[in-house]
């Protein structure tokens, strides 16, 4: 993965607009967060292979970045994006790594279902 280049990411987001795409979105603190610190409120969310179409997608902020996708009747967004990769299958993989390098958030867009 590379550090986000906002223009490049925006171009790829645009290329997926108005097409059927599969979304992977997750955010997590890790399963051990409240084990090590009992005052920590652990929460997370995960969706894999949501089939959507977005008319508009945007990456904004000064880094870490925010990415929002305006879908039919609703929205998808992720906050804390730091890294990106366009993989060998042409999928856009966006990730937010915390200060220890741990994955905190991921948003991925693909024309074909994820494994």
């Amino acid at each position: 993965m590379e550090v986000v280049e906002i223009q490049k990411v925006q171009e790829v987001i645009n290329s997926f607009a108005n097409k059927d795409v599969y979304i992977h979105l997750e955010t997590t603190n890790g399963a051990y967060a409240s084990h090590f610190n009992q005052s920590f409120f652990s929460a997370g969310a995960y969706i894999r292979n949501a089939l959507v179409r977005y008319e508009l997608g945007k990456i904004t902020g000064n880094g870490p970045y925010r990415v929002g996708l305006k879908i039919n009747l609703g929205w998808i967004y992720a906050e804390g994006i730091t890294h990106y990769e366009i993989d060998e299958q042409g999928r856009l993989l966006l990730a937010g790594h915390d200060y220890d390098g741990k994955l905190a958030v991921a948003l991925e867009i693909s024309a074909t279902p994820f494994e």
């Binding site: 997750e26 009992q38 995960y46 993989l93 790594h97 390098g101």
Partner: protein, 221 residues
């Protein structure tokens, strides 16, 4: 350590076997006991991705699959099974189906000892769900046909509620094998390992006790 007929280890994540039980596994293998390791997921949700990241969300499972195979090789496990569940989803699976899947393996390999997590005392929801499925599976067997169950527990309240572990295996004879197994799961353990090997070198009593003594609670029906 008792000589077993066959040991079945059931955990949800590649590396679950490494810290707590790999010395016990290596000892059984050394004693000529066949060991089957059924690993439910490929740790797809692992968060340690390096800084800068060495991989991405989609490729992590491929890395962890190879690491798991390497750990099994290091420990001498001949029968490694990857059951194909997804990290963090085990507790949402159909409990009866999952238990039956595990029961099939039990019936096939006929273990005298099963090692898994103690449900309710193993912190990660996948750990608890895996332990619960194993106990549900063994619970379907006639009481006199059931293998012994050694459960790993490490929640903050485990000693308070379960009492002290009744099985403590000193694995000093195979400590190098254990460390190699931990190191095999490089993507998850590299940072921790550096810190740990330093502490072992300095004979840090807490780390020595943790690495050398593997603790289990015999499941009581």
């Amino acid at each position: 350590m008792n000589k077993e007929r066959h040991v079945l280890v059931v955990f949800p994540h590649p590396d679950d076997e490494a810290f707590g039980v790999s010395g016990t596994i290596a000892t059984h293998v050394k004693n000529g006991t066949p060991v089957t390791y059924a690993c439910l997921t490929l740790g797809e949700m692992g968060r340690n991705m390096g800084n800068p990241p060495f991989t991405n969300r989609e490729n992590l499972p491929k890395i962890r699959r190879e690491e798991l195979k390497e750990a099994a090789r290091v420990l001498g496990i001949q029968d490694l099974r990857m059951l194909g569940y997804r990290d963090k989803t085990v507790e949402f699976e159909d409990e009866e189906k999952l238990a039956n899947r595990i029961l099939e393996i039990i019936n096939e390999v006929n273990p005298s000892l099963i090692i898994t997590f103690y449900p309710g005392y193993a912190v990660h929801p996948d750990h608890d769900a895996t332990g619960a499925a194993v106990i549900r599976a063994v619970g379907k067997m006639a009481p006199d046909a059931r293998p012994t169950l050694h459960c790993v527990a490490f929640s903050n309240n485990c000693v308070e509620e379960l009492g002290e572990a009744d099985i403590i295996n000193n694995i000093g004879n195979v400590v190098e094998t254990k460390l190699a197994a931990i190191r095999a799961h490089r993507s998850q353990t590299e940072l921790m390992f550096k810190d740990m090997s330093e502490k072992i070198k300095n004979q840090d009593p807490q780390v020595m006790a943790r690495v050398y003594n593997e603790r289990f609670w015999t499941y009581k029906w």
